[in-house]
Symmetry: C2
Subunit: 71 residues, 2 copies
DNA sequence: AATACTGTCAACAAATATGATGACACATTT
DNA sequence: AAATGTGTCATCATATTTGTTGACAGTATT
């Protein structure tokens, strides 16, 4: 799998988990101590996030890093 | 959890999984198409790896990304 | 119609990861 | 003793992520 494909899959997973909680990008961003543009960049697969970024998102969503990257 | 702590935990996990296969850093590096210094940097927790780097390591180890980050 | 919210995109500086190379001490092998 | 393998560290240039700001169209709300 290429880098871009992984990024897209991770993004879709974040969207899926965020909507499951009924959150907007802004709400998730606030819980992550990030801004919504950063979240959007991850969700749209425009970036290859670091482990820590994914960990922060997972924590905000109340799940483990491993659970987040079940793609 | 702080960034450095996550990096250390990920590193320990990579070491654990690599040794489970009886591989040296050089062998894992070759399977990842990286060099051993890059692997060492991840294993020693000196870097906060990107999702794709972790994915490449997981693939070389024959496991999923989610399995790799079960920390 | 005006306001606020949402997702999206672009650009910038700063921080960081990556790939590459060289070097070192230690242990193992020949 | 010499050669090889292993893990570790440092440095460098390049690529990329991150944080931030501003902007825009579409939607919903008042």
């Amino acid at each position: 799998m290429k880098k871009e494909e992984l990024a897209r899959k991770i993004g879709k997973r974040v969207i899926q988990l965020r909507k499951k909680k009924g959150w907007t990008q802004s709400e998730l961003a606030r819980e992550c101590f990030k801004d919504r543009q950063s979240i959007e960049r991850v969700e749209s697969g425009k970036t290859n996030p670091t482990a820590y970024t994914l960990y922060e998102v997972a924590s905000a969503l109340g799940i483990s890093l491993a659970e987040l990257v079940k793609i």
